[in-house]
Amino acid sequence: MKTLLFVDDDPKVLQGLQRQLRTMRNEWNMNFVEGGPQALAFMARQPVDVIVTDMMMPGMDGSQLLSEVSRRHPQTVRIVLSGQAEREAVLRLVGPAHQYLSKPCEADELRNAIIRTFSLCDLLGNEHLKNLTARIKSLPTLPSAQTRLTGELQKDAPSLERISEIVARDIGLTAKIMQLVNSAFFGLPRQISDPQEAVAYLGLTTVRALALSAEIFSQFDPRLCQLFSLDILERHSWATGLLARRMAHLERQNNQMMDQCFLAGLLHDVGQLVLATGLHEEYSQVILQARQKKQPVCQVEQELFGASHADVGAYLLGLWGLPNVIVEAVAWHHQPSRSVAAQFSQVMAVHVADVLIHERQQVYTEAPPPGLAMAYLEKTGLAGRIETWRAASLENDEVY
């Protein structure tokens, strides 16, 4: 049984939640406490899978509590359920919370968010990797992206377009911005996958506050995992995103699909970044073995960790509340046949684009991914499109 802990300084809110979620009592072990210190005491006695906390509380507020929880119990999924209306408040949570829900929150919305995180937990089998991923507050960025972003923001009239482009070229920034803009806090009527739209929604003030917060800009230290190059990963990801979008365009998909293909392509290997920053030497080991034995990286990862960067990446993005289609496309980008989709899908676009970009990209140090899932392509009747897509991958040299 999964254990849940709800924290709110108002006992009436807790009672309401308790009554409303009573139907889940046979599946969930639900606990309710009235403050941060009580929550920490509870967690010291008993592991908790998901903590749902209010933000404003006397003594220890929600962001302090969650920071402490992420330090002491990194595997616990951290969700905020707050009635706060200020944007600044949510910025304080960008680090410590995985997801934000707004009061008043429909019971279904809360229930679904919790169910979703539970199914995510099952996705990634390795507890150690789970801890590692759940502890991540932000992903490292390249110093050049940081310089360019702060430079643009300091101008008298910063251009939203240039800022979006800087964001979109950076895996870590994009993932963070998507986490924010898709959180219930902003209450947008639909999920957003286009970085430019996301930046426009958040607005310059919020983006600036984000850019200035040290939580967001951790720098990548190349010495820690020497065989890994963030620069190359960024370029590979950007190229994959562009090609996935181009493919969607060639298949006459709508704008939303094109945006999702791009975002999933951009983020498909985010798990590698998590592993390289979290496991340094072990990950160097993975890369080394992959090169020496000419094995796909994901295969070595699976062998050594019992999970691949695709699992880790999907777990992270799921925790951060990114749209499900993105999480799925990332999870299965090496095994598209696990998807139930019987026609062109985000999973397929990312899978094919990834392989095609690897074909093109000589400099990339990762051993190539497993080849195209031809059986799946045949099954969906899209195998015949491969040459068209490959030609598209050759069109634009500038991006590689």
Partner: protein, 463 residues
């Protein structure tokens, strides 16, 4: 309206040498006649030339406007400066004309009324602030006009001198506009800050009102099933047709429907829902009272009620660091005041108190401070005291706290306008006083005193 001071003492009267009674002929003719009679002897002539010279020099070189008028308020002589203001090349061109020839109708009539009053009563006009529009320009003038007495003791006209105070007046108006703007800006800012707090205050009960209502709704089908099965059972009992199956069915339904839990929870859920709805409507009511439009004039206000609403509206600002105690004198008389402004003052003081307590609480996590708001009548005044158990105000800071933009807080926490606005509202708008008592490490009390019978607003002041 402008302030008019009236002084009338014999000594300050201006008397001209003997003048014969005014004749019916035109004013020019009359003037010529006066002059002829005056220029009698050579001695006189010399003396007069000398005097006239002096007068001419004085008139032509003073930047102030100088003008003489007859009993019909027609110009008999003006100086160069005034001619320029009236748009004339030569001063002589004004002679025989009146204000109506130069100024808009309303203005000219106002001047005429003022001057006719002066000519009738002999009461001089001193330092009257006049707006003076001519085709080309708008000027603000400070005018002094005094009657001229003929030798027979009758008033024969007036002499006026007007000083151009446009620059000073504009600076003053600008300052007033700025002050109003400051007040407005602070109001907006605190409304913005409050709005976020109020949203939070409303979102919380809304959460559990929703949860509880849905809970009752979701439980009802199960309850209904139990009731239905008991109806069946009852019917069976009446017909003496009870079967073991019927009993078993009822028992199963009772077990499945979690009745024990529902018996306890449904009444509490409904009670808490009602309480939540009441909490929301209390906030909404308080908001309405707080944002009192504060019409043009003062109205008699129940300060206790105003303080209660303001404290409710501001609850999110203090509740995490302090408790708030209201000690309001039940018999407090109504106080003539601008309610909107008064609420603003109380809000600013409560927010300051919460901040000062917040600083203490930060150093001693887990503790809470206390804010006390008291009202009482003290003779002709009503006193409002806002006391906190915060940091107290350091001595070096005390003299500066009412200065505009003086703050010791971080950017985003304070802009240093709170107390400036309190001071302006209480002292300038209500004729009250603001004082404070403070002790480092113990706390601070701000004391507002509002007069119950403020003197009627001085006639004049701003337009």
């Amino acid at each position: 309206m402008e302030k008019i001071q009236v002084i009338d003492d014999e000594a300050s009267r201006l008397t001209l040498p003997k003048v014969p009674p005014r004749q019916e002929a035109g004013q020019q003719a009359a003037t010529a006649k006066v002059q002829k009679e005056l220029i009698g002897t050579a001695e006189n002539r010399l003396w007069l030339m000398h005097e006239n010279n002096l007068l001419q020099v004085l008139m032509d070189n003073l930047p102030d406007f100088i003008y003489f008028k007859d009993v019909h308020s027609r110009f008999t002589r003006i100086n160069k400066a005034h001619a320029r203001h009236l748009g004339l090349q030569q001063p002589e061109a004004a002679i025989g004309k009146s204000d109506a020839d130069f100024f808009p109708m309303r203005l000219a009539r106002q001047k005429l009324v003022d001057e006719q009053c002066l000519l009738a009563t002999g009461k001089p006009i001193l330092g009257l602030i006049e707006k003076s529009d001519t085709a080309g320009e708008t000027k603000w003038l400070s005018s002094t006009k005094v009657p001229i007495y003929a030798a027979d003791g009758k008033i024969s006209g007036l002499v006026g001198i007007s000083r151009d105070i446009t620059a000073a007046k504009e600076a003053e108006m600008e300052r007033q506009a700025m002050e109003a703007q400051l007040r407005q800006a602070q109001k907006l800012e605190s409304i913005g800050q409050l709005a976020a707090g109020i949203a939070h205050e409303i979102n919380t009960p809304t959460q559990y009102v929703g949860d509880n209502t849905r809970f009752v709704k979701d439980s009802f089908p199960a309850i209904m099933q139990v009731l239905k099965s008991h109806e069946d059972l009852l019917a069976a009992v009446k017909n003496q047709a009870v079967t073991p199956e019927l009993i078993a069915r009822s028992e199963v339904l009772i077990k499945e429907s979690d009745l024990e839990y529902l018996y306890v929870q449904i009444p509490t859920a409904l009670g808490e829902t009602l309480e939540g709805v009441e909490r929301v409507s209390k906030i909404v009511r308080a908001m309405k009272e707080f944002s009192h439009p504060g019409g043009k004039g003062k109205s008699l206000a129940d300060l206790n009620k105003a303080i209660e609403s303001t404290a409710t509206v501001a609850r999110n600002e203090w509740k995490y660091v302090a408790d708030l105690k209201l000690e309001l004198e039940p018999e407090l008389p109504l106080v003539p005041c601008f309610l909107g402004e008064f609420n603003q003052c109380v809000l600013n003081l409560i927010v300051n108190a919460a901040h000062a307590i917040g600083d203490v609480v930060k150093k001693n996590p887990g503790t809470k401070g206390l804010i006390t708001v008291q009202t009482r009548r003290d003779g002709d005044h009503v006193e409002v005291r806002v006391t906190d158990t915060g940091t107290g105000i350091p001595e070096s800071v005390r003299p500066k706290i009412f200065e505009p933009f003086f703050t010791t807080k971080d950017v985003g926490q304070g802009t240093g306008q709170g107390l400036t606005v309190v001071y302006a509202n209480v002292v300038k708008k209500h004729g009250g006083t603001v004082t404070f008592e403070t002790e480092l490490g113990r706390g601070t009390t701000f004391i507002l005193r509002l007069p119950l019978h403020p003197p009627p607003p001085a006639k004049g002041g701003e337009g």
